[in-house]
């Protein structure tokens, strides 16, 4: 296994009180092609800029070959950057742009003087050597004979090549690329992706590449680091990241995917969209999980021939395949298939066990889809609960007729407004008597969590689950009811 060339230890960067990069640990091996991938504002560029030295971390340290370089300025780091907008020197021609770094470099030469003593001299690189290196770098990026050209007259693609040549000519240990292909058109971008990959092989140096384009990341990288909100979500090979996303963010960000809530229904069995599917992952019984299925991994068959029946509600031709939306119950599932099914057609789907990817759901809060009833209660999980609807609109209040008046005086009838309901695990009260609570269900699982029990209560019809942290021991299969105080119910408007 190759050595770690760069290592970030508990690195954070804070702008205006928010952590853009939040306590990340990351190491990169020598010679790797690593991509930092994430949506804009996820902290990937800031991470790169800290490696380059343009930004100093607010805490943590950055090691290069095991040595702390956190405080070392960029011009002393053996790292070069290819900038997003090329950042070529507009006052210099192609040759002088590429030679910029070489002209500044001083090479250590050792001589012997008359007395046989060694004299160390730091000398400029000779014009001849610079000439050779520049023309070799230009050859590398396929722009021979461009030396005398004015950089401002070059096309975007050519400028980008010059920017790459300008960086690699210095023979850095690490080449940083900050969304270098972002400004190019699709065709050129694809060509450059392959060329960069080729260049990486030839040069054998470490590439750290930043992009928000998941396809680019999958095509080029040895390792992908998926980031979001300043935190590393997953590190892995492109295959791992695509096939085994660690959480729903990664699954959603890498390629198109269907993410559905499911429950483990037995040994290698998971229940979602009203059906128990076989799968390969091993999880604990009754655990709530996120199920990820790629659109291309779902097969459409005639009605009643597959696992789940439903209806095609839309179909779009995408060139190679049709992208269809399959509706089962209230869940929409995206399916890609080369054969088109008519909109409105009743069909059935098949999902193979190995195509079902399960992600652990970190249970922090119960969440439900609900709606507001006529008397300003909230209905979810087969029950009606008292709640404070004024929380939906900051600064609002209710008038005598129970209509909501917003802060700017608008009068709103909330009846049937869809809302997201959240209830903390420890705020759900379990009541022995089935009739006394707001809704009722059956206890399907009890797990001892060291200092408390985690109880799961499932409603009979909609099969909604309440996950409850409680000190008291209940019995499995008990029929109980559930009560929640109005102040413990958080409501959020569903954004259409």
């Amino acid at each position: 296994m190759a050595d770690k060339i760069i290592e970030l230890k508990k690195v954070s960067k804070i702008y205006d009180g928010t952590a853009v990069v939040d306590n990340i640990d990351l190491y990169i091996r020598k010679g790797e092609f690593v991509t930092l991938l994430g949506p804009s504002g996820c902290g990937k560029s800031t991470t790169l800029r800290m490696i380059a030295g343009f930004e100093k971390p607010d805490s943590g340290e950055i090691l290069l070959n095991g040595k702390d370089i956190t405080q070392i300025p960029p011009y002393l780091r053996p790292i070069n950057t290819v900038f997003q907008r090329y950042a070529l020197f507009p006052h210099l021609n192609v040759y002088d742009n590429i030679a910029y770094g070489l002209k500044l470099k001083r090479v250590k030469n050792v001589y012997e003087d008359k007395n046989g003593k060694q004299v160390v001299k730091y000398e400029k690189i000779s014009k001849k050597v610079i000439d050779e290196k520049v023309s070799r770098a230009l050859k590398m990026v396929d722009l021979e004979e461009f030396e005398k050209r004015d950089v401002t007259t070059l096309s975007g693609g050519q400028q980008q090549r010059i920017a790459i040549a300008r960086a690699i000519v210095n023979e850095p240990e690490i080449l940083l690329l900050d969304e270098p292909l972002g400004a190019l058109d699709l065709k050129m971008r694809q060509d450059m992706q392959l060329e960069l990959k080729e260049m990486h092989k030839k040069l054998g140096i470490t590439f750290i590449y930043v992009t928000h384009d998941q396809e680019e990341a999958l095509t080029m990288s040895d390792t992908i680091v998926v980031m979001n909100d300043g935190v590393i979500q997953q590190i892995g090979t492109p295959k791992d990241i695509y096939n085994e996303p660690k959480n729903s963010f990664v699954a959603d960000f890498i390629g198109e995917s269907n993410i559905m809530s499911g429950t483990i229904a037995g040994d290698h069995k998971v229940r979602f969209i009203g059906h128990v599917f076989d799968m390969v992952d091993d999880f604990e019984l009754h655990e709530k999980v996120d199920v990820v299925v790629r659109p291309e991994d779902i097969y459409i068959v005639n009605k009643d021939k597959g696992q789940v029946n439903g209806k095609i509600i839309s179909s779009i031709f995408k060139g190679i395949h049709y992208e269809m939306t399959f509706l089962v119950g209230k869940t929409e599932i995206i399916i890609q298939d080369t054969a088109e099914r008519m909109v409105g057609e009743e069909v059935s789907i098949i999902i193979k066990p190995e195509d079902i990817h399960i992600m652990k759901k970190e249970y922090l809060v119960n969440s439900y889809d609900g709606y507001i009833t006529k008397n300003n209660k909230v209905a979810f999980a087969e029950g009606e609960f008292d709640c404070d609807v004024t929380k939906l609109y900051p600064g609002s209040h209710l008038d005598e007729e129970e209509y909501l008046i917003t802060a700017d005086g608008q009068r709103i009838d909330l009846t049937d407004t869809p809302v997201k309901v959240e209830v903390p695990l420890d705020k759900v009260e379990i009541i022995d008597n089935e009739e006394d609570g707001n809704t009722s269900g059956e206890i399907i699982s009890i797990i001892y969590k060291g200092d408390h029990y985690q109880v799961i209560i499932r409603t009979p019809e909609e099969e909604e689950d309440f996950v409850v942290d409680t000190e008291y021991l209940w019995n499995e299969n008990d029929k109980v009811s559930v009560k929640i105080k109005p102040e413990d119910i958080t409501l959020k408007l569903k954004v259409k």
């Binding site: 380059a52 030295g53 343009f54 300025p73 960029p74 011009y75 790292i79 070069n80 950057t81 900038f83 997003q84 907008r85 950042a87 070529l88 020197f89 507009p90 006052h91 910029y100 770094g101 500044l104 470099k105 004015d150 401002t152 300008r166 960086a167 210095n170």
Partner: protein, 273 residues
């Protein structure tokens, strides 16, 4: 012909008229006066007379020395100011920029008079000598009056330089000083040239400053022209026009020279002016 094209063409007419009446016509008049004598006959004696009088040549020399010195000092002061302004945060930057521009909003003659009072005040406490240092007085006055015109064009160019380009420079191994010499300075050349043309030209002619602060001992070419048009002898307008043309010629020469510089520096965009 489309109506749009037609109307666009018409839009230019007022400007063409303006140029004709206020630029071309006066210029023709000046050329006419410069090459004729009091009787309206063609002559080049207005020019030969000017160059044959050593006092005139002295004025020419003083004017240019003053202009070059003023410009140089303005640049030396303005560049760091513009640099610091361009580097500072948006809030402080605007406040400081306003402070530097504010004097421009006060009447030029008043400013010069105020400078004179200031120099007299310094004289009275014994650290300055207004009466003997009349040339220095004039330089101080000119620098004071033209400094904002130097700061602004340099500042506008500096602020437009892509931050990434500077970062690229440090990334390629240049420290702060090397980055300045190899990147910032060459990229700000257009601003420097704008600043030079903004200062060099007016400082050869703005005799208000040299009159007020130079104790009438500093005569610049602008003053010489004014004198010719004021004495009102038969041929004084002709002489004055000739001097104007000579000045024009010199200015044109410097412009060509700086124009060459701009071409060489090969930079995109230019200064504010």
């Amino acid at each position: 012909m489309g109506p749009l094209k037609f109307s666009r063409k018409n839009l230019g007419i007022p400007y063409a008229l303006f140029m004709l009446v206020f630029v071309l016509f006066p210029l023709v008049l000046i050329v006419f006066y410069a090459f004729t004598d009091a009787n309206g006959h063609f002559t080049i004696s207005n020019f030969t007379d000017f160059f044959s009088r050593s006092s005139n040549l002295y004025v020419l020399l003083i004017s240019f020395a003053l202009a070059v010195l003023t410009t140089a000092i303005c640049l030396i002061i303005a560049y760091p100011v513009a640099y610091i302004l361009a580097k500072s945060g948006a809030k402080t930057r605007n406040v400081y920029l306003l402070l530097f521009i504010l004097p421009m909003w006060i009447n030029f003659v008043l400013r010069t008079a105020a400078m004179k009072e200031l120099l007299f005040a310094l004289d009275s406490i014994g650290i300055y000598n207004v009466t003997d240092w009349y040339f220095v007085n004039t330089v101080i006055g000119m620098v004071y009056d033209y400094l904002p015109f130097t700061i602004l064009p340099i500042y506008t160019v500096l602020i437009k330089i892509d931050k990434n380009v500077m970062e690229a420079s440090t990334d390629l191994g240049a420290n702060g000083f090397q980055t300045f010499v190899r990147t910032t300075l060459p990229l700000s050349v257009p601003g420097i040239i704008s600043a030079v043309t903004m200062v060099l030209l007016p400082s050869t002619t703005s005799y208000v400053i040299s009159d007020t602060l130079g104790n009438s001992k500093v005569t610049i070419i602008g003053k010489l022209i004014e004198n010719q048009f004021n004495i009102g002898t038969a041929d004084s307008w002709h002489t004055g026009s000739a001097i104007s043309l000579i000045l024009l010629f010199f200015i044109f020469g410097t412009m060509l020279l700086t124009g060459k510089f701009t071409e060489n520096s090969n930079t995109r965009g230019s200064g504010l002016w």
